[in-house]
């Protein structure tokens, strides 16, 4: 083994060699001997959605489809608000206009042959591109069949159309209908049940519907409360309305 000790002096020496050879800062990311690094005010807080100002990503026509489809996916009923009332359309708008819509973390290099079902998503569309292409295709198909865009046809016709996408029996010219539906259903559920800071689950409507306690971090008093209703209202990352009431 090479001589020891010790790394600090050797790393300084390495730095000197690098400077001489024109490579500087090569060890800028070195963490040596000073304990765990901590910088104040460097926490990676979540990026909350700004829900003011209406739609940013969807056009007016696209928003009309999204609102109509969301109302069929999770309707408002005697149990409480549906996806529209819970803000899911705005959630989708902000998601599709951001990192998710851009497929920023996805592998998006070709080639793009059609794959087996077990190989997963193989479209060259990012989610944002997929929604754009699919909504246009859907409204075109509805115009062809019913002389009206999706949001203007009857609810049972809308349901039938969505079922056709889900099963794949309705195909779209520019997007894979099953892939479109799978993504849409997933994103609607995300918008209904995610933390309210992202624009959906407004007033924690999704969480209240089912009884989820939200972003609570200490459940110790309730672990052994067998068969007892949970006594606390849900809470989000930014608290709940009762914490921020004015006055």
């Amino acid at each position: 083994m090479s001589e020891r000790p010790i790394s600090r002096r050797r790393m300084l020496a390495a730095g000197a060699v690098l400077s001489a050879s024109g490579v500087t800062g090569a060890i800028a990311d070195d963490l040596t001997g000073n304990g765990v690094p901590f910088k104040p005010n460097s926490a990676t807080f979540p990026q909350a959605a700004d829900i003011s100002g209406g739609y940013n990503f969807f056009s007016q026509a696209e928003a009309a489809f999204i609102e109509a489809a969301c109302a069929r996916m999770i309707p408002k009923d005697d149990l409480g608000p549906g996806a529209v009332e819970a803000g899911v359309p705005i959630f989708l708008d902000r998601q599709l206009g951001g990192e998710f819509g851009a497929g920023a973390r996805w592998y998006m290099n070709g080639p793009w042959p059609k794959g087996e079902k077990t190989q997963g998503y193989q479209s060259r569309f990012t989610p944002a591109q997929m929604y754009r292409a699919a909504i246009k295709d859907i409204d075109d198909a509805c115009a062809h069949a019913h002389n009206a865009p999706f949001h203007q046809i009857a609810a049972d016709q809308q349901d039938a159309f969505l079922k056709g996408l889900e099963s794949g029996s309705t195909s779209l010219p520019n997007a894979d209908s099953k892939a479109v539906f799978t993504m849409f259903l997933q994103n609607v559920i995300e918008g209904f049940f995610s933390d309210p800071i992202y624009g959906g689950n407004r007033d924690m409507a999704g969480w209240k519907l089912i009884g989820f306690s939200g972003a609570r971090y200490d459940q110790r008093p309730y672990v052994l409360a067998y068969n007892k209703p949970y006594p606390l209202p849900p809470v989000g990352i930014s608290g709940r309305p009762g914490w921020t009431r004015e006055g």
């Binding site: 083994m1 926490a43 592998y107 309730y222």
Partner: protein, 589 residues
């Protein structure tokens, strides 16, 4: 041309659980260690604080703690007759990135494999005869025994502060523990977690049927704990955000919460983040690793010379790095020649949902390894005569926290959306629970890893190509486990159950487990293994490759406990033997 840095004793590729353990052990031996991590530093107060850690959308569905596939992914096909295509977004498994690796977002399920698991081939042949292991099932004995690993399992459990109940202390069966486990030298460092209602309902039904339920061994600490390194963990608060999340409460054992506060203070340890290793460099004769070439955050290529190279990235990346570095011969399933990439295996899982009308279960209260488990059908704990398969898995009811985007079970016949779906979700969420099965995958001639001929990563290197499918053995075994789980579910006296068998070909889309194993396996001979039993490369003796890549096949338990035990054994061998004769094989072929 890469610029050369000053030589170090040891360079490590990757800095997750295994890197932290190796770093701690080898710096203790006085070596100068440099760890190269492609990702960034992260820690509890900055990256998953309690004020924002419980965020299902951000961490699970938007993958914030996981590998970024735009940088690197793999390609997948079920068999060699198909064209492998890229995994474009994450699904079936969730490799990590950044400091702490996948260990940051694990559940904390800490298992020991069964003594017979380490003798998978010889044990099954001797008990069931030659037909039990078909020709295309390429299982092997590990070359180590349970007894070899027992001290190292123990070391990891005490490092983590595992909460559990021993079932076999030095051969004596202890009521309330797992009677099937191998003998332990001492009990777990912490008592079991408090057990919620649903796992207790399962445990009662299972016990009434003659099964042997016991609390899941959990790296979620049940009381304040100071580990042997002097690092303190806090009592778990059952917040229900372990699996796929970082723990804000210092209650889940990770590199950050058990090792790094000590290791990061050592002057002979350097962590170099944002440093992605391109390849391991070899001497002209190919028998010695001279160091590694890596790319730093500015995109510069640097050469880090070292006497000893430890490849300790995720199992899949370890295999790819060997292939990219021309260490060993790639496996060809058609000729049977070569070994790197051979015996890739996974896990086969299924579940049974249990729906009550009259019981409130509050399923959002949870912890990653909180539950009651049965090993009656794991490994060779039951007679397989006439069943047509070998191996098994555990059946248990875990309450890991029902984050609602992921978990909102509905009974058979429920629509997937619309008013009927909404009504069913609202009715069942608080009154439903799930029994899981977690089965072994035997290695198979056709299941393997190699380099993809078409698709490249962000550095222009070939992606790993995974060719994998479940075989008859897995399906028969998983169906058998699922049937047992359904019996137990019915015995819990619910309104109804829903049985979710694993059908058809392996599908990379739905999440299953991050338990990818094999590809650079251990063994007793260079004829049938890439690594000796100390995880030392047969071809390049100053290269060690600790990780689940070493598993010859994947038993019916979560892998981390065994990865850790093999790693500690590897570190011990380096310290006690290798350093006395550096560069020499610890086992002569």
């Amino acid at each position: 041309m890469a610029q050369a840095l000053a030589k170090t004793d040891v360079v490590m590729i990757g800095f997750g659980w295994v890197g932290a353990m190796m770093g701690q052990e080898l710096t203790d031996a006085g070596l100068n260690v440099v760890a190269l991590e492609r990702g960034s530093w992260r820690d509890t107060p900055t990256d998953f604080a309690t004020t924002f850690a419980q965020d299902e959308l951000r961490y699970y569905w938007r993958h914030e703690l996981f590998e970024r596939l735009n940088h690197e992914t793999l390609t997948f096909r079920n068999n060699d007759g198909q064209t492998a295509l890229p995994m474009r977004h994450l699904g079936s498994f969730l490799p990590g990135s950044n400091v702490g690796g996948s260990g940051v977002h694990w559940n904390g399920q800490v298992w020991r494999f069964l003594p017979s698991d380490f003798l998978a081939k010889s044990h099954n042949l001797s008990r069931y005869g030659k037909s039990a292991v078909p020709d295309d099932m390429t299982i092997q004995d590990w070359g180590v025994t349970y007894d070899d690993l027992e001290p190292y399992y123990d070391k990891f459990e005490y490092l983590c502060g595992v909460s559990g109940k021993a079932g076999n202390l030095k051969g004596q069966i202890i009521p309330g523990g797992d009677p099937f486990e191998g003998p332990r030298s001492r009990d777990y460092p912490n008592p079991p977690l408090d057990m919620p209602y649903a796992p207790m309902l399962f445990a009662k039904a299972a016990a009434d049927m003659g099964r042997h339920p016991f609390p899941h061994p959990a790296a979620n600490v049940s009381r304040p704990y100071t580990n042997p390194l002097g690092v303190q963990l806090a009592q778990c608060t059952y917040c229900g955000f372990c699996e796929k999340y970082g723990c804000g409460n210092y209650s889940k054992s990770t590199a950050q919460t058990t090792i790094l506060p000590v290791l990061m203070r050592k002057p002979n340890f350097t962590l170099r983040t944002r440093s992605e290793v391109r390849r391991i460099e070899l001497s002209p004769d190919g028998k010695t690793a001279t160091g590694v070439t890596y790319v730093d955050a500015q995109g510069r290529e640097l050469f880090q010379p070292a006497d000893l190279v430890i490849l300790c990235a995720y199992a899949l990346e370890n295999v790819r790095m060997l292939l990219l570095s021309d260490v060993g011969k790639p496996y060809d399933p058609n000729t049977g020649e070569g070994l790197v990439g051979k015996n890739y295996a996974y896990q086969i899982t299924s579940s049974v949902n249990v729906f009550y009308d009259d019981k409130i279960l509050n399923p959002f209260i949870g912890a990653g390894a909180l539950g009651m488990m049965c090993n009656d059908f794991n490994g060779d704990n039951f007679d397989h005569t006439g069943l047509g398969f070998i191996g098994g898995g555990y059946v248990g009811l875990m309450q890991t926290g029902a984050r609602p985007i992921e978990t909102h079970p509905t009974p058979d016949g429920t629509p997937t959306w619309g008013a009927g779906w909404k009504r069913a979700v609202a009715k069942n969420y608080l009154r439903a629970t799930t029994i899981s099965t977690h089965g072994a995958v035997m290695s198979h001639k056709q299941n393997h890893l190699d380099l993809d001929p078409t698709y490249k990563d962000a550095l222009g290197r070939p992606l790993l190509r995974m060719s994998f499918d479940f075989t008859d053995n897995e399906h028969k075994m998983s169906d058998y486990l699922t049937d047992r789980a359904a019996e137990m579910g019915r015995a819990m006296n619910p309104r109804e159950i829903k049985v979710n068998k694993r059908k058809g070909s392996y599908d990379i889309v739905p999440y299953q487990t991050t338990h990818n194993t094999g590809g650079a396996i251990m063994g007793t001979s260079p004829r049938d293994s890439v690594l000796n039993t100390y995880l030392q490369s047969w071809d390049v003796p100053n290269l060690f490759v600790p990780g689940a890549n070493a598993f010859p096949q994947n038993p019916g338990y979560n892998p981390t406990g065994t990865v850790a035990a093999l790693t500690f054994r590897c570190a011990d061998a380096i310290k006690s033997h290798y350093l006395k004769a550096p560069g020499q094989p610890l086992v002569h072929a």
